[in-house]
């Protein structure tokens, strides 16, 4: 078993002469390509763990929606679909700007990159702002699970101008189950919002580094990988919105 291969060390040395090493090159990696691929792979794996994490709550949602469908319908219909839809549009726009930011980094346009990062952040904050108003409204309506939860509006729904019930009343035991819906609503959107807050903090950090020109000299990995994370957060919302807000809504049938 002889080692009959050519020593590539010489080849490597000559390759090095033509290659300018970026300052961000970590020396436990042989090449920058290896570093970039490792970083990207690592981020995808991390996102996989996030899917498993959210997955637990989606499973609980699956179970309880199946068991208590009527309660879920009634509770879901109290959510503000307009705000939810607006948030969906806001978040998609934010993702769009993030994608533009990645492009700007790749074509080495520093000012554009910073602009797009700022826009991503602005829309991200707008999302959180709308969420704040939604949560506030929920709190006022006594939809927050726990001691202040009020089932009476599901048992005796409020009447509209004509004196008809705005939604079918629920029997008391089914009305109780609306608390489960709201718990899942707050847990899932809350966990999502937490991930957005973390993302926004990271955005500020990236903005600072981008302003110093760190990402427009060929080293785009952090922007790319953060982009992956941001798009993932976006996708989670794309799932949450219809599952939470749009249960049994028939906009064309009235």
């Amino acid at each position: 078993m002889d080692s009959a291969t050519v020593n590539p060390q010489a080849e490597h040395d000559s390759a090095k002469h033509h290659h300018v090493s970026l300052p961000q090159h970590r020396h436990h990696f042989e090449t920058e390509e290896q570093q970039r691929e490792a970083g990207s792979f690592g981020m995808w794996l991390f996102l996989l763990t996030e899917i498993m994490f959210f997955g637990g709550m989606f499973f609980a949602y699956l179970l309880y929606r199946n068991w208590y469908y009527d309660a879920f319908v009634a509770a879901s219909n109290t959510l503000n679909v307009k705000m939810g839809a607006a948030n969906t549009a806001i978040l998609i726009t934010s993702g769009f700007f993030m994608a533009l930011g990645v492009w700007a980094a790749e074509v080495r346009k520093k000012n554009l990159l910073v602009l797009f990062l700022i826009l991503t952040t602005v829309f991200g904050c707008a999302f959180l702002g709308v969420k704040y108003f939604e949560y506030k409204e929920k709190f006022e309506l006594h939809h927050v699970p726990g001691n202040s939860f009020d089932v009476s509006q599901f048992i005796n729904p409020p009447l509209n101008a004509q004196g008809n019930a705005t939604r079918p009343p629920l029997p008391p035991d089914m009305a109780q189950k609306t608390q489960l819906f709201f718990f899942l609503y707050f847990a899932m959107t809350g966990m999502h919002a937490l991930h957005m807050i973390i993302g926004i903090v990271l955005l500020f950090w990236l903005m600072g580094r981008a302003q110093r020109g760190e990402f427009t000299e060929g080293y785009v990995a952090p922007i790319e990988n953060f982009g992956l994370y941001w798009h993932f957060v976006d996708i989670v919302w794309i799932f949450l919105f219809p599952l939470l807000y749009l249960i049994n809504l028939h906009p064309l049938a009235h």
Partner: protein
């Protein structure tokens, strides 16, 4: 059983006498023990086999006897052998175990039903005749006994090792297990699911009596009303008879002979009415609305204990006509329906 009954008896008695093996006190115990000995044999064989291979090779190929190793890649034949043979044995264990499992968890039709309510940290047994026991259970030999069990608080587990039965006792739904005792005597009852501080003392005694002794015991220890009688009382005092009066225009469906029937629900499905269904219908009525009726039944969640639910379920099991329902309608203590659940949830 395949092996000589004499040898079997000897094995079991000897092992039992040396306190290394529990007594066989139920009809299913020999079946369980047979599977156990099969698996034990499999394990001993496996360990001896692996031990023999390792020891033989270690001695034969130790360095002083085998200074140079021969590099061997592998052998597909051997790989196949030790994949297929263990798989085959494990599948035998699977099939055998599955058959036994279905047997233990499928009560025979003619079982006598006894209710068990577990709570921190004691067992309550309720015989249909009204006998109540705490941390004890008297049963006759020669009669299949089904235990319908529920917890009032956390998970417990009802275990009688010498009968070879065990089942989790869960809050919120009934679980069942059955056995038929073979030998009079006293046997351990354990709670085997960790349930808090006094988990270790949530134990009791199962007393198996001959059928005549059991009959004597039931007569001596009756506390007055049977479960069904108590249930009838609750049915009236909680106002159930107001809607379930059995009249043609009644707001609630007729409950006479409903137990064991197949019921059509408003959502189109049809269910078999058993104890679990009845309990759930009382606590979550809106999901169990009989076809043709409005979902107006209030929930009794939080207003009736598990014992009360057992009483009512027993009552409904015995209800064949609405005669006494009508009677108690006019003579019941309260002529008001049970108050509907109030709007704000009590914390």
């Amino acid at each position: 059983m395949g092996i000589s009954p004499v040898l079997w008896q000897f094995l079991v008695k000897w092992l039992n006498a040396s306190a290394l093996f529990p007594r066989e006190a139920s009809t299913i115990a020999p079946y369980m023990d047979a599977l156990y000995f099969f698996l034990l044999g499999m394990t001993v064989t496996g360990v001896i086999l692996v031990g023999a291979i390792v020891t033989t090779f270690s001695l034969r190929y130790r360095k002083s006897k085998s200074p140079v190793a021969t590099q061997i890649e592998g052998s597909t034949l051997l790989e196949a052998t030790w994949t297929i043979i263990p798989l085959g044995i494990f599948l035998v264990a699977f099939v055998w175990g599955a058959l036994l499992y279905f047997r233990i968890y499928t009560p025979p039709i003619n079982s006598m039903n006894i209710y068990i309510v577990g709570k921190q940290w004691m067992w309550k047994a309720e015989h249909p005749g009204g006998q109540h026991e705490i941390n004890a259970l008297h049963v006759p030999t020669g009669q299949p006994i089904q235990l319908t069990m529920i917890s009032q608080d956390v998970f417990h587990s009802f275990s009688i090792p010498e009968f070879r039965i065990k089942r989790e006792v869960i809050p919120g739904r009934y679980s069942t297990v059955w056995f038929q005792a073979t030998t009079p005597g006293e046997y351990h009852l354990f709670c085997t699911q960790y349930c808090g501080t006094n988990h270790s003392v949530m134990i009791g005694t199962i007393t198996v009596l001959s059928p005549s002794d059991y009959k004597k015991w039931t007569e001596e220890s009756t506390s007055g009303m049977s479960l069904a009688q108590n249930g009838e009382r609750l049915f009236a005092s909680m106002g159930c008879n107001a809607c379930h009066s059995g009249n043609a225009a009644a707001r609630g469906p007729n409950l006479a002979a409903v137990y064991g029937s197949k019921l059509q629900l408003t959502n189109g499905s049809s269910v078999l009415v058993n104890e679990a269904y009845l309990r759930d219908a009382i606590l979550n009525p809106s999901q169990h609305v009989t076809a043709g009726y409005a979902p107006i039944m209030p929930t009794y969640q939080g207003q009736i204990s598990e014992d009360g639910l057992i009483d009512i379920v027993e009552y409904l099991k015995t209800l064949n006509t609405n005669y006494r329902v009508q009677q108690t309608l006019t003579t019941s203590q309260s002529d008001q329906a049970a108050p509907p659940a109030s709007g704000v949830v009590k914390p």
